[in-house]
Amino acid sequence: MSSPKECKLPSTSADSAEAEVFSLSASTAKMKAVAKKIRRHIVTMTGKAGSGHPGGSLSAVEIVTTLYFKVMRHKPHDPHWPERDRFILSKGHAAPLLYATLAECGYLPVSELCTLRQMDSLLQGHTDCNLTPGVEMSAGALGQGLSFALGVALAGRLNKQDYRVYALLGDGECDEGQVWEAAMASAHFKADNLVAIVDNNGQQIDGWNRDVMNLEPFPDKWQAFGWQVIEVDGHSIPQLTQAFKKTKKIKGQPTVIIAHTIKGKGVSFMENNPDFHGAAPNEIEVKLALKELE
């Protein structure tokens, strides 16, 4: 009989101080520490669940960390605060990343992360907005998030609210035609309160993007659809911070941040390894990964 899988999560300071959650002045060193903690959560929780999507969660850690801890206006203790900035996770399989981030912010207890994908858990395999505090959209069927985010952005404009909407897409997700319907419409409606971020890790389930379905010239496509394009190293918190700052100054058109990332980032044997797109690390791999993330 096998012993129950371990789920030892790193301790957190999130519950103590809301003020700590989003601070524009947070140092890069501090942000890196948060990012590492979130990486450890992702490895631990998918390992415990025995399934899930660690690769595309690990690649977007800095993007989501920068948003929640530096850029976005939000109140973890009031998830429905009307003035909050909205984060729409379109690549719903990166749910472990969002859950870990929400837990670190204080939306839910960190201990809840161990229940990922189990019966009666608040944390479904893919996001469910009616179950998890802080989750804005139910996702998992790719290609719908940018349209949804545009709807949220247009509603904000109608309501004369100045919140901003951030939608995180996968690059493989951009195979979906609806992404380009939404891209066209966002520029048509001049949605300058909408920012798309593409986690451009170059890989999808069946392999490299270029072999599965070539996306290039990727930035040119967005530009041709009427978007302002910013390219960054998606693991550089200073570059991401600068890019998000810049998006606030762009008027009359939406902005896309193409974040060049590495799938499985932070764990050597997961990096650029499509096997970890939709498979969890086993017990030994969890231990090895956590050692690397010390």
């Binding site: 729409i88 469910d128 907005c129 009616n130 804005e136 959209m137 139910s138 996702a139 998992g140 069927a141 290609g143 719908q144 998030g145 349209s147 949804f148 985010a149 545009l150 709807g151 949220v152 952005a153 247009l154 509603a155 904000g156 109608l158 309501n159 035609g177 609806q178 319907e181 939404a182 066209m184 419409a185 048509h188 409606f189």
Partner: protein, 311 residues
């Protein structure tokens, strides 16, 4: 001859009236606003009208995003495109989170006519009724249409309202009060019950009138709400010992299938389904098509006789 009134026009005008009262109502269309008649709203309240172009999937998910931000979006296109073209968007963006989006689809059924099978929606009710928690309404005339649209605003949650293209004679007068989830008994009778939706309600009434002359006394029910289904009314209709359903839709997954489920579970009686059999229809005039595909009063009369024979 009785006056014929457009259900689509009733929708468009009611939507504008409601929009003038309620600032949360927004309207989306996919390049068909003059056919769906959302153009009345677009003309008067342009800042709350969103033309999405020929991109129904995008329209549905935008509507979902708006609903999640407190708006009451009405998204309109032809019934063949919603749910047909954007079923996954409706499923994932609207049904799963139970968002407050109202899809009003026009040009339902085969009476779209000359445009042919590509534009004739014969599967939409099966698709939309399969989604947990969706409210589904098929109004029988312009008066019921207006009240169904009001009900969609008054009740939180996802709605699908299916309208036909042709004008149709009024079944109801202004005293009528639509109740969500409730069937309407239009005629009492003891020998069999005809349960109909949409344009087939008028055919059912005509069939009952003709059958009366032959000594067959039919009850006629309009079942405007397919979901939630008025199961009590169906069980009561089974008291007559025979049920015939009539709809402008495939017999798979539409009104007939849903009534049969309730009848089989609670009070098995012989049933006949007047519906499109397992086939696509062709181009033609609406009346010619209804005749060719067995959707007339005469067909209902035949079905009633068959069902009664099996009592």
């Amino acid at each position: 001859m009785e006056q014929e009134v457009s259900l689509r026009e009733a929708y468009g005008k009611t939507l504008l009236e409601l929009g003038l009262e309620n600032p949360d109502i927004v309207v989306l269309d996919a390049d068909l606003s003059r056919s769906t008649m959302t153009h009345f709203f677009a003309h008067e309240l342009p800042e709350r009208f969103f033309e999405c172009g020929v991109a129904e999937q995008n329209m549905i998910s935008i509507a979902a995003g708006m609903a999640s931000s407190g708006k009451i979006p009405f998204a309109s296109t032809f019934a063949v495109f919603a749910p047909g073209r954007c079923f996954d968007q409706i499923r994932m963006s609207i049904a799963q989170p139970q968002l407050n989006v109202k899809i009003v689809a026009t040009h339902g059924g085969i009476t779209v006519g000359e445009d042919g099978s590509s534009h004739q929606s014969i599967e939409d009710l099966a698709l939309i009724c399969s989604l947990p928690g969706f409210n589904v309404i098929v109004p029988a005339d312009a008066i019921e249409t207006a009240q169904a649209v009001e009900a969609a605003v008054a009740n939180y949650g996802p709605f699908y309202i299916r309208l036909c293209r042709p004008k149709s004679q009024l079944i109801y007068n202004e005293d009528y009060r639509f109740k969500l989830g409730k069937a309407v008994t239009l005629r009492q009778g003891k020998d069999a019950a005809i349960i109909a939706i949409g344009l087939m309600v008028k055919e059912a009434l005509e069939a009952a009138k003709n059958l009366k002359q032959e000594g067959i006394d039919c009850r006629v029910l309009n079942m405007p709400t397919l979901k939630p289904l008025d199961e009590a009314a169906i069980i009561k209709a089974a008291e007559t010992g025979a049920i015939v359903t009539a709809e402008e839709h495939l017999e798979h997954g539409g009104l007939g299938s849903m009534v049969a489920r309730v009848v089989a579970q609670h009070q098995p009686v012989p049933m006949e389904l007047v519906a499109l059999k397992d086939t696509y229809a062709k181009s033609g005039k609406p009346a010619e098509l209804l005749m060719r595909y067995g959707l007339t009063a005469k067909d209902i009369e035949q079905a009633v006789k068959s069902a009664i024979k099996r009592k």
